[in-house]
Subunit: 246 residues, 2 copies
Amino acid sequence: MPRYKLTIEYDGTGIMGWQRQKHGPSIQQYMEEAITAFCGEQVTIYCAGRTDSGVHACGQVAHIDIARDSKPYTVMQAINYHLLPQRIAITKIDEVDEAFHARFSATGRHYMYRIINRPARVALEQSRAYHVPQPLDIARMQEAAALLVGTHDFSSFRDSMCQAKSPVKTLWQLDVERIHDEEVRLYASAPSFLHHQVRNLTGSLIYVGTGKWSIDDLIAAKEACSRPAGGPTAPAHGLYFMKVDY
Amino acid sequence: MPRYKLTIEYDGTGIMGWQRQKHGPSIQQYMEEAITAFCGEQVTIYCAGRTDSGVHACGQVAHIDIARDSKPYTVMQAINYHLLPQRIAITKIDEVDEAFHARFSATGRHYMYRIINRPARVALEQSRAYHVPQPLDIARMQEAAALLVGTHDFSSFRDSMCQAKSPVKTLWQLDVERIHDEEVRLYASAPSFLHHQVRNLTGSLIYVGTGKWSIDDLIAAKEACSRPAGGPTAPAHGLYFMKVDY
């Protein structure tokens, strides 16, 4: 039975996140329904990282096993057809070995967080970027971010519901960049992340950027190894799951 | 009675365009209702360029006269409050002279057109960019675009309903740029445009980019001075009204 690796893009607005939920639509549900509509099989889809409600993806990766014998491109086009009119699309398909697992074979994950940084209300990017009206000091945020790169106990930036065995994670990259006058982006890469880690780090770095926290405050928060010491959780709608390494 | 110049951003998705319509919501209607909700006055708003249904704006400009005496910033915040939850926001307000008119004082207008250029279906930018699956030859498009800059009879790229007195217009800029692997942008600037001119030029340049037309075909289309000779009208949802000069 062929196994397919799917690269998936979606707009998380109004969706309960990746995982199936009783109280609303999920990416997993839409994907599995579209796959069944194509091949008639009951399929379980496995993803590299289960995104929260409202989080977007440019490069989520998932795998499926389907018996129906078709060319990969046909499989992609057919599932994409059945996904309409949802804002979910497979952008790439590859036939892979049965040893491939979207989650367990992943060696790296890359996220982006978008901030619209201007006093005025946001219309165009309302559900696609977080609005921070106070000016952000990007140089200070970048300086603080650099101190979080590497292997640390990230308990202060870990959701209380996080199921990971250890709070110790290795951040490969945490960069803050002003894209243009009104937009700031954070880039975070790691082999894997704790639950809400990127959003909690972003909330804490925004504290540094607005001057509510000094860089020392951020380090003290990290060293407290306790979630209440960390900054707020930045909202889901600014977060994008960009890419998975294998 | 103070006159205010408003810079306005909006997501045109699901909206009938700028101008009031009987059959659906318009930016003008939402703006005028929000202004009345703030100051209790019946106000007519005048804009620099009436965008079509589905067209977005980052920098539409409009003016209003209101009797209520408030600081400009208060006026902006109050109207923005009453615009919620619509994806429309005033991003800048200036008190201006009564000689100022958003449409008649405008000396230049700037548009952007976004194309997602990849084989795979588009999810995230579905209502925000036009999907062209065939590879686009940007160098050829740019070469063709350069030949349209300047003063020409644009009858072949003018909507049949266009009310302008003359089909002769001066294009200051028409540039085609590949932003990244999957996105192409067109930038068009002129003192003023004919109805659908940017979308018709874009549709014709896409013909050049896919190889359906040679550059000579494009020039022949222009010189025919007849709308049926021009290329198709690119869809509204890729178009952004970026900026107005005064």
